[in-house]
Symmetry: C2
């Protein structure tokens, strides 16, 4: 095995161990020494691969965002472009699936911020991948004139959102539907987080079904038909 191959493999093991620790101790207690133990190195050797504890945390965050973003993109791409509701449902389901499969990485990116840690620039782009997918669905719906009969902006909607950010995320979408699209996104994240963090208590007799119905309600809210 060449040096480069070996290096890549070891880096992979370190990230794997980091993810394992996220699960066992949480982001705030992520420990380089424990990571080192996990991959069978002495603690100082990890510094050949990551510059500091915070750098490892950043890597875990970006790979989590990327991983989730890719799951969303694949779910979206598997549907006919014109099947807007199908795409919304597929992406929403994929997001929840990913969260259930990677609960601690979900908590890392959508849970409480890690105190004392400031996310650097490098996390920004991966973070927008999921929302970009959903933004495209709303934009496609607007383009096809399929956002229901009343896409009129509620009073003040235009001034609530930043025009540049809106144009980047949902090009060509008026403020009204854009706001409703954002509300659908917050509803999705809220549902997944509350379910994952155990805040529904005994309420959900059938979590899959409840989520599926919530997805439909949110699609109705946006006006995706």
């Amino acid at each position: 095995m060449s040096r480069a191959e070996h290096r890549e493999q070891q880096m992979g093991l370190i990230l794997e161990a980091g993810r394992r620790q996220l699960a066992e101790r949480g982001a705030a207690a992520l420990s380089l020494r424990e990571v080192a133990r996990d991959v069978g190195m002495v603690s100082s050797a990890v510094y050949r691969y990551v510059g500091s504890r915070d750098e490892l945390l950043t890597l875990l965050i970006t790979t989590a965002f990327d991983d989730l973003g890719e799951a969303a993109e694949q779910a979206d791409a598997a549907r006919r472009r014109s099947d807007l509701r199908g795409r919304w449902r597929a992406v929403g389901t994929a997001v929840r699936r990913w969260a259930l499969d990677h609960p601690h990485e979900w908590a890392l990116v959508y849970g409480s911020p890690v105190p004392g840690y400031a996310a650097p620039e490098s996390t920004v782009v991966p973070a927008t991948r999921v929302t970009a997918v959903l933004g495209t669905i709303v934009a496609d719906a607007a383009l096809a004139g399929r956002l229901g009969d009343d896409p009129a902006a509620p009073k003040g909607a235009t001034r609530a959102l930043d025009p540049a950010a809106l144009a980047a995320l949902m090009p060509g979408v008026p403020a009204g539907p854009a706001l409703r699209g954002m509300t659908a996104w917050t509803g999705l994240v809220g549902h997944v987080s509350l379910e994952l963090f155990g805040h529904f208590g005994p309420m959900l007799a059938n979590p899959e079904r409840a989520f599926s119905l919530a997805l439909d309600e949110l699609a109705d809210l946006v006006g995706i038909t």
Copy 2:
């Protein structure tokens, strides 16, 4: 000052210091020693007041839930009982206000769970206070027959929710509106969390207005008029 008074005051100082630390270091890194330093005691003296670090964490969680619940109850009580949309908007606004005023306590209760810490029984009742307020609004709306023209349950709604839990939270509300009520709650929590944790990025030019519009959209979704 009597012993009892003194004790109560010191306990207050300890909780205050605990909250301060939640802000500075986060729940996972809450430290009894630092709390002791904050209130000007030696570390072992704190054990006269709380049995362990986890017990302090539990106290902080229950008081946070109670505090938020009380804010919601007061906002609700300040409106005419029949003003359903006004009540929903007032409670939603109060919840966001409280979260902005107590960001780290919000993160403590609605953010990622603290790893290695299992919330004991004593947190359950305070946790339900906010949702009880919102449940009552939906129940009042259903009772008054004001949930729009189509309160019919979507296919499968009845089996998605636990009947006992539903009856406790929203007595007399059919499964369809109940589900939509829950979706409104998840949307509210999702919006507040995403805003607080910085996930909207540059999107919100006017956060107050965006939230206000989101509240209306969610009220429309439930059918609260």
